[in-house]
Symmetry: C2
């Protein structure tokens, strides 16, 4: 696992700090396959993973769901035939927290280990 | 299960007929919670289901995935905390086939039986 994936996630809480642009500039090179997209004015971190078929995408989603549950921090998971789109953001602060980047790195690590 | 849910799904194949407006007018009243939305010029049939939490949404997605695999006809499933968005359409004909409405009715039946 990458250094980022090994960092501790902070608990989500209202008032937790959004990542700064300086942090984003430091974090994004560690997540080369991820993109920041704005949805309804809220930044989200998203990546599409290729999978073998529908059930394989579903199985990967299930793995991510278990990790998310452990951290009590949940992404959106879009399961389609042959691909899974994973999107992280922090509802409670309407944007991106460092934990979202940590979870993205852990999702990459799960994918690499499949 | 409803009458619609009990109909046979036809195999997806290129050249299969899109539903006509007359069919849509007949089918939609049997699927009151579903909406037809256009994405990139392609009609899709979509519904949001309320779930208890993230893992409950995941578990319902898993049930639908098993049914989809049996029919070899796959939706997109958007898993989020407390809700699951299910979207049916037929890739091979770039739109809606009667089978999509049948699968929507079966998805409703799965939800009712939970």
């Amino acid at each position: 696992m990458s250094e980022l994936a090994n960092k501790q996630c902070e608990a989500c809480r209202p008032g937790a700090p959004l990542v700064t642009q300086a942090q984003i500039d430091e974090l994004m090179p560690q997540l080369p396959e991820w993109q920041i997209i704005e949805v309804d004015g809220i930044n989200h971190l998203t990546r599409i993973y290729k999978c073998k078929n529908f059930l394989d995408a579903m199985a990967f989603a299930e793995q991510i769901a278990q990790k998310a549950e452990q951290e009590n921090h949940h992404p959106s998971l879009l399961v389609e035939w042959g691909k899974l789109t994973v999107t992280w953001w922090t509802h409670k602060i309407n944007g991106l927290h460092e934990s979202d980047f940590i979870m993205a790195a852990r999702t990459d690590a799960l994918y690499s280990d499949r």
